[in-house]
């Protein structure tokens, strides 16, 4: 039973345009969310996080928006660059040192 859901598994976007990745969660107790980025044959790397006391967090080209009432968050990448081509995972901590991960979204940025 997935607590964190990422639909639309792949996204293709032109270089310079916006990439929007969506993530929905079912557990209303979640109060912190993270996005990880993963290149092929590498481990995930931390990208950006947001606490439930905020509805937006920005770091350079990356912005995460949180809508608690809808149990929805999104990651915006503006402008998209070829180096952003990767798989992006949404995750939320819960319980004893556990992270609930979504299945990931593949982003392909076309030069």
């Amino acid at each position: 039973d997935q607590q964190v859901k990422q639909n639309s598994p792949s996204l293709s976007v032109q270089e310079g345009r916006i990439s929007i990745l969506n993530c929905d969660y079912t557990n209303s107790m979640f109060d912190y969310f993270l996005w990880y980025k993963k290149y092929p044959a590498e481990g995930p790397t931390f990208l950006i996080s947001i606490s439930s006391i905020k509805d937006k967090n920005e770091d350079g080209r990356f912005t995460v928006f949180l809508n608690k009432s809808a149990k929805h968050l999104s990651l915006h990448i503006v402008p998209s660059q070829p180096g952003d081509s990767a798989v992006y995972f949404c995750a939320a901590p819960y319980g004893n040192n556990r992270l609930a991960f979504g299945k990931g979204n593949q982003v392909v940025v076309i030069p």
Partner: protein, 113 residues
């Protein structure tokens, strides 16, 4: 500063064989984790450790064992390999716990035939 290293990168096992996946971190992190990622799925926690000598089960611990005798090392043991254990295994570490940034190793791809 190597971060988190994992060996081997790739391994093929026969059903019933055993092996140890190695994980070492040089960041003096207290917390270490083992995850598995099946194709098209998110990562699932197998075991974690909050410090040397302390380990606990995650979501999918069956078929695996761990030990943490030092801060740096956190090996994962598969005793009787089964095809269901075919997966990519990631080791990770963090300073203080689950809300801190986790640093992941490059992964070990395991195929059980």
């Amino acid at each position: 500063n190597a971060g988190v290293t994992q060996t081997p990168k790739f391994r093929i096992l026969k059903i019933g064989q055993s092996m140890t996946l190695q994980c070492t971190q040089d960041m003096n992190h207290n917390y270490m984790y083992w995850y598995r990622q099946d194709p098209g799925m998110g990562l699932k926690l197998i075991y974690y450790s909050v410090g040397a000598g302390i380990t606990d089960k995650g979501e999918v611990p069956n078929g695996y064992n761990v030990s943490r005798s030092t801060t740096e090392d956190f090996p994962l043991r598969l005793e009787l390999a089964a095809p269901s254990q075919t997966s990519v295994y990631f080791c990770a570490s963090s300073s203080f716990g689950i809300q801190e940034t986790q640093y992941f190793g490059p992964g070990t791809r395991l195929l059980v035939l």
